[in-house]
Amino acid sequence: MSILQARRRSCAASSLLLRGLGFTLALFAFLALAADGVAHASEPATSATASLGLTTGEAIRAILGLLAVAALAYIAGRPFVRRFERSLGLSPLVAFGVPFLLLGLASHELGILSEPVLRGISPLLVLGLGWTGFALGFRFDLRLFQDFPRELLEAFVLVTLLPFAAIVGAAALLLALTDGVSADAIFFRDALVLATAGAMTTRTVVSVLDRARDDARTRLLRMIHLEELAAIAGILVLGAFFRNGGDAQGWTLPSFGWVFVTLGVGTALGVLTFASLTTTKSQGETLAVTLGAICLSAGVAGFLRLSPLVVCFFAGSLLANLPGRWKADVRQALLDLERPIYLLFLVLTGALWSASAWEAWVLMGLFVAARFGARYIGVHALALRQPDLLSPDEERQLASSPMGPLSIAIVIGAQQLFTGTTVAWIVHAVVMGAIVSDLLARLIRPDPGPRARATLFGFGRVTRRLVALTSVVRPAASPPPTVTPTDAASKEDPS
């Protein structure tokens, strides 16, 4: 394709996008104004939102606002936007995380995400956590753990467990000093949650590694899988041992019993979903069953006050490791909505955000320092012990790796499971800490790398792809892609 053609198409695409956006905004504005006008003369409505006790104007503002936020999250989750952001060397948090966080804050202030609305959409939060857990589990290929090399275990200890321990130590100390040491060791629970979220390495790290070093990418991906498994196990144990008893209802079980209940429920739901999926005959049926299974799994987990993330992870991983012709459809559906859900989490976090407590800011600072310092030490120790494992650039990337969506999902899940003032602090620490550590990483790595630099100046290539993606002519149906461990990072990475 000639340069002229590329420029023609890029110009046309930007114009189309701008027109579409302008038209949609104008329509929303018109509808909101019209609605406000009619609202005062209207009687109480009988719609699904009527039970929230909102006036007509508030309800319409909330509905349209939510739809607009969902549309933005969907657009931001499209593959071409991801490639665009990667090609510019931007991390997801910098590119979209902060804007969506601010969008949530603004939505709350504007009355779109008011308290009744947040209460009304709470099933979506449960479903979102379940979806994230299911998607995570569906990526969990047991074959990656066959013949697990010893040097990777060493890497796991240095790159993951060392930061984990450092964060636990620092956070537990601060929480004990500020919130006090209670009999149920809440400070320790929160420190463990914080450390679990902080120990995660984002999958984007794999995609920025040198493509020629396929073996290094595969090894790192296997380590990240191990990290995710450890995180799920951690939440499982935390959820069982620091279980929020709540009211008098429910079963009385010893703490360890809840571990088995979680595993049992996850497995039972996985088996039920698998059996259901084997009866499907079309893509539509597969998607309906998948949606039903995720709703059921997340709902059951929430109902039993278990972590939807963990229960759905087990159900999803069971499906991933059993045979089935429906797997490509399920995988694509799960991954397509994973990032929009993560962005909606950020919007909700923004809406619930309370930055008034100084302890939350101190905790965030401590969290970032402990994570960053321990990771740096861990990666360098790893480089000393295994000089051939990573190149110097890859070491830098790994040491300064930002946090991924799983970290956010972990603290949002914790917010659903646990109570107490300090829970809001850890959410604040992880979300803000993720942004701060990303910015710090940018400072440490001033050079975006040859690939990013090349595409930064070769803007036309990105826009050319944009045009290709927004073209009405859909490419002919192709067989589902087979995901090899090496490709998984770039293909499945929601961030």
């Binding site: 890029s10 114009s15 709470s122 039920l272 009866t279 059921l296 059951v300 009405v472």
Partner: protein, 495 residues
């Protein structure tokens, strides 16, 4: 297998419900959605296997798992799931509107007119007479003045005569039927719904005067004008928006359609517009709007502007000019009108399948079996009168209109299905006449329950007997060989 899965699902959820018998909240809502989706899917497949409509299976699953039988779904869960109702009705009405290709159905207008006049209005009169004659057996009508008796009988007769385009579309889709019978019935039920809405508003206003309430005819006319006229206007605008969106954007159509259906249902209710009429009009506009002509004019304007763009920048001029052309940039051929409607149809199909399962299962779960027992005798008589009226009326009307024999023989069965509109009118009636008590609601709910269970089966049989089943060939949509999934699948090269 599916029976076992149904049993396993019931046992599993009942076991989980033992944790906290009073199920409500976000998790309970998610469980409800999951159970109804999965149970509806299994039951639908089972019913299909024994030659019954899937839709009846969804309803049966709802009844089985609903509060009246197994009580897996609590009334609180059911109330929280009402959001599905609005979306499903909007999607089904959109589908019905997309079928209204004016040039194709113009030859059927004569039959439609006669059927509306004789079968629909005649049966309404017959039902009003039936209610009047049954008054001594109906507790809620005891002690009414003769004028009140007549007014209430007329209003109830209208409410009971309401039909269901949603069920007609669902059964038509399931049997893939096409031909004069299906086309005529679809047009009749669409127009009949409008007539019923208008007649009911007038009848209740008049009935109120017999109860000594002041009724302002001008206010009634204005409300009705806003309800119907505003809905048509809103539908036309949304139809054009949806049409342009589908023309310009390829991915995420199903999600966009689902979001639009949600907005139509929720915002429409809040503004006292009719979601059914809005979506129906939107579908009719998409099918019949002169897209090609508009595109032609826009292209002419773009061509006229091209020299100006070219003068500004020879490199990007042609592309910029083509970007102002709504047909589509560069070399893309503008899609012809039926293709556009088919694109929307695919999107509705993809978004609709899980929603329809949930909708009909929720409808089943909402069936008041206790009311059915209380009002079984008068309800059975009125169901018989209604069915007989539609059947005989359609036969006679088809004879007068010289309609194809198949319309006369089987058309009446298509008018029998009943669902949301009758229930909504009943609720409105109870709200308007609180002195009559809940008895009116019980009577209408019982009639709807009977029709829900029997009428889809009869209509399906009628379609099979008519020979129109399986005639609906896949729309000529070369870009989309298969329906678009709930979430769009990018080509592997772009993932």
């Amino acid at each position: 297998m599916k029976v076992l899965l149904l049993i396993a699902l019931a046992v599993f959820v009942l076991a989980v419900r033992a944790f906290a018998p009073e199920a409500s909240g976000a998790s309970a809502t998610a469980i409800g959605a999951g159970v109804l989706l999965l149970a509806g899917f299994f039951a639908g497949s089972l019913f299909k296997a024994v030659g019954l409509p899937k839709l009846t299976g969804y309803l049966a699953a709802g009844i089985l798992f609903g509060p009246q039988v197994l009580a897996v779904i609590s009334p609180a869960m059911l109330a929280d799931l009402s959001v599905f109702k609005g979306i499903a009705v909007a999607l089904l009405a959109l589908t019905a509107g997309l079928e209204m290709d004016v040039p194709t159905i113009r030859p059927l207008f004569r039959s439609v007119r006669w059927i509306l006049l004789i079968a629909v209005l005649g049966t309404t009169a017959l039902l009003a007479l039936g209610v009047y004659l049954l008054a001594p057996t109906l507790d809620f009508m005891a002690g009414l003045e003769p004028a009140q008796l007549v007014a209430v009988a007329i209003a109830l007769g209208i409410a009971i005569s309401a039909q269901s385009p949603a069920v007609v579309v669902a059964v038509r889709d399931e049997t893939a039927a096409d031909g004069p019978l299906v086309k005529t019935i679809l047009a009749v039920v669409v127009f009949a719904d409008l007539i019923v809405i208008i007649l009911f508003a007038v009848a209740t206003t008049l009935a109120k005067t017999t109860f000594g309430e002041s009724a302002d005819p001008l206010q009634t006319a204005l409300t009705l004008g806003w309800h119907v006229g505003g809905s048509i206007l809103a539908g036309a605008v949304l139809g054009i928006v949806l049409g342009f969106f589908v023309r310009q954007v390829e991915s995420g159509r199903a999600l966009f359609v689902a979001a639009l259906a949600f907005a139509i249902a929720e915002v429409g209710e809040r503004l006292h517009l009719d979601p059914l009429v809005i979506a129906l009009t939107a579908g009719i506009v998409i099918r019949n709007f002169p897209w090609a002509r508009i595109t032609h004019w826009a292209s002419a304007v773009a061509r006229a502007l091209r020299p100006a763009f070219h003068a500004a920048d020879p490199a990007v001029g042609p592309a910029a000019a083509s970007a102002f052309d709504p047909a589509l940039p560069a070399s893309a051929e503008p899609p012809h009108e039926p293709a556009l409607a088919n694109h929307v149809h695919h999107a509705v199909e993809a978004a609709g399948f899980p929603v329809y399962i949930a909708f009909f299962a929720i409808a089943g779960a909402g069936v008041h079996l206790d009311s059915l027992v209380v009002a079984i005798l008068p309800a059975s008589i009125l169901v018989t009168v209604r069915g007989f009226g539609f059947w005989l009326g359609t036969r006679y009307a088809a004879h007068l209109a010289d309609a194809p024999p198949v319309v006369g023989r089987f058309g009446g069965f298509g008018l029998m299905p009943q669902a949301g509109l009758a229930l909504a009118l009943a609720a409105l009636f109870v709200q308007s006449f609180p002195t009559l008590g809940a008895g009116t609601g019980d009577l209408v709910f019982s009639i709807v329950a009977m029709n829900e269970m029997v009428a889809p089966v009869l209509f399906r049989l009628a379609i099979l007997k008519s020979g129109e089943a399986g005639r609906l060939s896949a729309p000529p949509d070369h870009d989309h060989p298969a329906p678009t999934p709930l979430v769009s699948v990018d080509s592997p090269s772009e993932s």
